[in-house]
């Protein structure tokens, strides 16, 4: 390992942590942390986000690898979906016996 793996004197790279609560469940974003590399990030994630048995699997992703929508995109990205009720399958009668849908 070289000192070059550490970004600057005082700041380690930021990582996003995703936890899976049970086998088969989706991974959910739990938070973020600082770590020098992937293995270190995985260990820190275990200690910070999974120490009370919250997870059976962990993902760590460099925050820099995530492309995010900007708050300024909210209008064009999300607003058009709000006023078109016909986009939602809500005009069907739910068959008897169906409890979860």
């Amino acid at each position: 390992m070289s000192a070059g793996a550490i970004g600057g004197d005082s700041h380690w790279p930021l990582w996003e942590v995703f936890t899976q609560g049970n086998q088969g469940e989706p991974f959910e974003h739990a938070g973020s942390l600082h770590a020098t590399d992937a293995e270190h990030a995985l260990q820190n994630a275990r200690d910070v986000y999974a120490r009370r048995g919250e997870a059976v699997n962990l993902w760590v992703v460099p925050s820099s690898a995530i492309t995010a929508s900007a708050p300024g995109d909210a209008g064009p990205f999300f607003d058009p979906g709000n006023d078109k009720a016909y986009r939602h399958p809500q005009f069907y009668k739910v068959p008897r016996g169906v409890k979860v849908f």
Partner: protein, 281 residues
């Protein structure tokens, strides 16, 4: 271990003992009590004292994530100590529970090895101490989990999982710091050189070890040693650290002859329980 390894009883080799390795009490007789109780106290005290040492880092960790990690290690070890001391109290049969054993014994009655009571130093010292202990602890739990003492085997099975993670964590840090910057390398090499003399005690056998074999507790130091050597040599090689020579090994903790550091630790650890005996919170 034979004299050829340079073992010295604490306090006897005054010429070589530094100020940090004087015993808190003089020599005591060989009265070791019930071997099974002694064995459980040794296992429990190792983890109680190391757990307390790690808890001293709480709020002082180098970064937030590591602060939490160190507290996690401490809590695991204190949990293991509670199980082991409870078991020791039950076997002893004198009505002492884990709290009585943790908070109302004095230094000479503690049976932890000298390694775990050494001060935290810098983060490198703490991680080297942790690594040397973890590598041994994992092998001990493996042997005990397969052993013939049901109560102890149950504790061992749970503790093995915890300590495997501890070893992974401490190994990673030893490699990271050893193979890091010139400053971090020099610091962990110095920590290794300073702490190495306390590793011989981990592999010493005495009458207690012989006696507990009858209880199905077979800790074969001769079998554990080469596996510990392999773990340590592998990590030190990756960390570009030099393994110190086995000279001037110190021991005495197993019979209550501790370094001066234990007394200070116990004063802090026991003050609340002794000031407010029986308090609940």
């Amino acid at each position: 271990m034979s004299a050829a390894h340079g073992d010295e009883e604490l306090g006897i080799a005054a010429g070589e003992a530094s100020a940090g390795t004087r015993p808190v009490a003089g020599a005591r007789g060989p009265d070791l009590g019930d071997p099974l109780v002694e064995c459980l106290l040794r296992l429990g005290d190792d983890r109680l004292i190391l757990g307390h040492r790690l808890s001293e880092w709480c709020g002082h960790g180098p970064i937030l994530e590591e602060d939490i990690a160190l507290s996690n290690l401490a809590l695991d070890l204190i949990g293991q100590a509670a199980s082991l001391l409870r078991l020791a109290g039950e076997v002893e049969g004198r009505g002492r529970d884990e709290d009585a054993l943790a908070y109302f014994r004095d230094g000479v009655q503690f049976r932890n090895c000298l390694l775990v009571e050494q001060p935290n130093g810098d983060f490198g010292v703490t991680m080297v101490r942790q690594f040397l202990f973890d590598a041994h602890s994992v092998l001990v739990w493996e042997a005990l989990a397969a052993g013939g003492h049901p109560g102890l085997a149950a504790v061992a099975g749970k503790a093995l999982k915890e300590d495997k993670y501890h070893l992974r964590h401490s190994s990673e840090w030893v490699v990271r710091l050893g193979d890091g910057t010139a400053e971090s390398h020099a610091r962990v090499q110095r920590a290794l050189d300073d702490l190495w003399r306390f590793t011989g005690e981990l592999f010493r056998r005495d009458a207690v070890d012989e006696a507990v074999a009858a209880h199905g507790i077979a800790l074969d130091a001769a079998a554990i040693r080469p596996r510990w050597d392999a773990i340590v040599d592998d990590v030190l090689a990756r960390a570009t650290l030099v393994r110190p020579a086995d000279a001037g090994m110190r021991h005495g903790g197993r019979t209550g002859r501790h370094t001066e550091h234990l007394g200070h630790l116990l004063a802090t650890m026991q003050i609340v329980a002794r000031s407010h005996p029986g308090a609940a919170w």
